[in-house]
Symmetry: D3
């Protein structure tokens, strides 16, 4: 089984970290293919970048290998999943949803911990339209400055821990990590916290395997039917291959 | 990996059918163990029987093999999952939840089709407390008499098909089967319907494998902490083994 | 009029305290009959015990006196009420609902105060499926250790008072006591608090009298129709009388 | 115990019919006092008349007898209950709420049947702010012309029956009558329908007795504290007595 | 275009302040006519006064000039708007709604700041029935004593600022002022706060102009159809002019 | 005042029709500037095209004239508004929101009528994240084939009328047109229907004027703060001007 893990930004090291995380939990026989857009922000924080990544990811999806069995969209809280469900015939698993699905089976309510406060509203919107906000006790952020997050892994981990304690205080009994590519974060938090911690890419990888294993894919009945054939001048952005 | 598929009623043929369904989708290396309560109704329709099965299933859970890795609770819409999450340390997947989780990734809204109209309210309650009713367009029933369902497989299939069309009409783009042990029903409906059809036991089996594969289990932090040690005269009902 | 007050646990002193509370508010001519299950936990905290008590209470309900006019289910937040509504033809009043019903007529929003934090989720579920969570500002717990609650009445009262102040702070203008059998607690809290305090067994007793007085009982139309006649090996648990 | 049944309109025959209904279910020792506003519409249908009756009822409440123990506000879906809760120290039971409270204990979901379609939105608003819409499957109306309702009792009954069947079809298992003063309507519908039928004035009378019996009254803590002393030129409308 | 700004209380200086605020933002050619009821409270805080003002405002609305194009109802959180929509054929804009409408376009969630804590529930009800509570992060109050608010403008401003900071802390990114007639408050808060501040009368004035400009007015289809012709003894309260 | 009306697709005739509609209701002194993306679909139906238009519109927004006072985003149900709110400092009005805002002031509940059934889910998502779905009775579609809609204006009008009747039947008392660029559609429907009909571009134009007139713009406090400065290889798509 071939699963594409599609990073939403253009930073190759993050793409590789995501693919590596997926590989670490994939079943024997599952091949993980890391991919990233050909253009767009090198990281996504906020709606503006999120909408850019949505189009960039859809653009890149016109270049998927032929034998892909499922796609994991690896941008926590980012837009685009419904468009991918229209475009593709293989199942599409969004990491934002994946963490929540597993969390709901492990605790009465779950919480999300992310890096920047400005992303809270966007994650809330994404869980809302996925019909998964109901069991979410809180979404909170480490709230470090961006530079600190990028440069000081230790400070980031500690800030994530503090935010996790806040969402537990607000009723969460499971933590979903709302970020990607921080190696070892799940392990660190699991050691420090009294609750399970879910890495969203790990979750999405297993859910993608599950759907493929059951022969299930996106409903093409109405909402996610294939896009109409029409003129789209200038699209795709990337040259066809 | 050893997964117990726990039927909620005392009909051995249904237990076997459920285990067989689980086996048909299990990964290589996954051993499916069919189990059923030692007492209680031979089928469950309605809250009264549902509460009986909850206690009977919890009673039976005191007799699980030592090396179980996860439990699938195979009573659609039936009570008890939160009690099992307290009692056990391995992950517990309820088929009611499992179908909904996968469905939400395949269509904008899903619908549930069950056999008897009186079960609709109970399924709605179960999805509500699981925080999964939000994406449910409709729950509907074949609404045959009980005898017809038990004796006339063909009539039941057709009635399920009619009910499925009704929930599609009401907005569902994916169908979750709210019953168990009807061999071949998913295949029949998939052929007749323009939308994906999810067998809940299949879904639960893959989700159980996913949780075990990720090393995740129930949060024991607060709500699902182990039951207190106390006097429970007359309990367990079944003699200890 | 004969009203059974059904304790959900097997502790006779609590059954008697509950019946006594009900008697203290019953109308002239109302006879209160305290009953308790023949088996099960001596107190119920958490879902596991709650599901045990549901079955144990339903088991005991097969032994109701013939001339009962209504049943009060006296386990705050415990399961089973819908099963009782199927089984019986007389009206069934759950204390969890009863307190909320009266509270909604007395203040803009109400709060629930219970003894143990682990029960909060379960009470929330019970109010949710009863369609009564909407007006609930908060559910909070005294959060003493179990031993303290059982052995130190004074500490428990004070902890309940502190929790009550917290739910008032969160918007409650009426307090519903989410526990039973603590003699004098309502009076103590009413003296200390600026808001009305509702004892749920008192509330349920008057609501049961009201339904009987109006000739109203459970709808047997669909959801709460009598349980089907079928085989239930090993049931009832208690020998028939 | 003295309970005022306050009609919201100025039609004496309706006031008497309402008081008579209340008396028919009152406990021995309960005295029912029918009252009505000194001014305002002779019937209330729609928000405009509803707001008039709210002020007219509050105006009339300045003239309550000294020894009143509770007030039933007998205008289904009409405004004013929260104002009465501020003004008075005795408990206030609104018939709109009362029917819903009892209905929620008798069936999984209830429905409301009223006379005119234009009142549906207003009843929905009233149940919404009372936090009781959650369990309401449908509100529907007989939808006769006003003249027909006033002049042709038989046609009205039949139209109410048709509307009741519609709300049952939409999921109601209990019917709350959203009108007052139609003698014999509950009995007629109960005979024709497979579900319990609740007369709201009957319900409110028993709930008022319940609150008084338990020594409970409106929370004066914040929202329903007594109105501030201030200048209100031209108020009360009615000359003081 | 002629717009009536209808104060809900009988204090002429507030009526003038409101009209003046409206005039300060009105388009060239828009004439603002300040009006107030002929009777009723000189300020409205709480449901009792709110219901009085609803009737008093409706009473006054029978005396509108013939050439009015729209009415702004200038009582934040006060009742009556739906009655006015029945009574009048010109569009009616309630200031409670108006602030929320604009706020929702400026930030992810908004908050309301009002003067007295007892009004919070009432504002919440008003936004709920207007279907606008969904985007409201918090409603909070300055919580000064009434005397302080009336006599000490500076203390009031500071208390409003503190309350605004609390609602921002709870997630609001736009502030709606839930009071009227405090000259200069919007400017003061805008200077002190990092978020936009909306004066509800200003908002309502522009929305009224917008509706008139588009030739839109209240739907008379069903709910807001004109009040029935009927007997309303004693109404209108004010002598006809 | 200069308002950009930004069409989301690349069809110049639709851009012109939208600008013309906006001009027809703009205040004296308001200059309407029609704009459209430099690339992307020539019409947008479905999530895939919607996400493309979001990025294409944001791309085009880097080329706005300097003296723009507000932007109307003229793609009903399309994505991107929150990104535009981050990118720009002037107010952004989405036509999807605009129609709903005005509709809520005109009737108890509103309905949306659009052209294609597949867009219903997407419009529902857009109203949900805008916190405006609460008052929406129904969203329905004309459900003609695409060719029919494009080629047969008369058939489209009639199909829109039929859909409008359906949403009225489901409780709508105001109709919001969920499409753009069909000249004369509002007038046609207003003549045929008993309820007000809102053209979303007209509504958005007046709301944009209102915000500018009040000196209000997007909150830059947290969620809609300006996008971070970072590397975005390949962006903007369009050559800078």
């Amino acid at each position: 089984m071939n699963i594409v893990v599609m990073n939403c930004n253009t930073t190759a090291s993050m793409t590789e970290a995501m693919a590596s995380t997926a590989r670490s939990v994939a079943a024997p026989g599952t091949v993980i293919i890391g991919m990233q857009p050909n253009w767009g922000p090198d990281s996504a924080e906020g709606y503006f970048d999120s909408y850019l990544t949505a189009a960039a990811v859809l653009d890149r999806m016109t270049q998927l290998p032929d034998d892909v069995d499922a796609v994991v969209m690896a941008g926590f809280g980012e837009h685009g999943r419904e468009g991918a469900r229209e475009l593709l015939t293989v199942p599409v698993v969004d990491v934002t949803e994946a963490g929540a699905h597993l969390a709901l089976m492990l605790g009465h309510r779950y919480g999300v911990v992310t890096t920047l406060r400005r992303a809270i509203a966007q994650i809330s919107d994404s869980l809302t339209t996925a019909n998964l906000l109901g069991g979410c006790a809180a979404i909170d952020a480490a709230d470090l400055g961006v530079l600190e997050i990028e440069e000081d892994v230790e400070a980031t981990r500690k800030a994530m821990l503090v935010a996790a304690h806040r969402v537990i205080e607000r009723g969460a009994e499971v933590i979903v990590l709302g970020c990607a590519g921080m190696v070892g974060l799940r392990e660190y938090l699991e050691e420090e916290l009294p609750v399970p911690v879910i890495d969203s890419i790990e979750a999405a990888t297993k859910l993608a395997e599950s759907l493929v294993g059951l022969g299930l894919s996106t409903s093409k009945y109405l909402t996610y039917a294939a896009p109409r054939t029409k003129k789209r001048p200038g699209w795709p952005i990337s040259p066809s291959q």
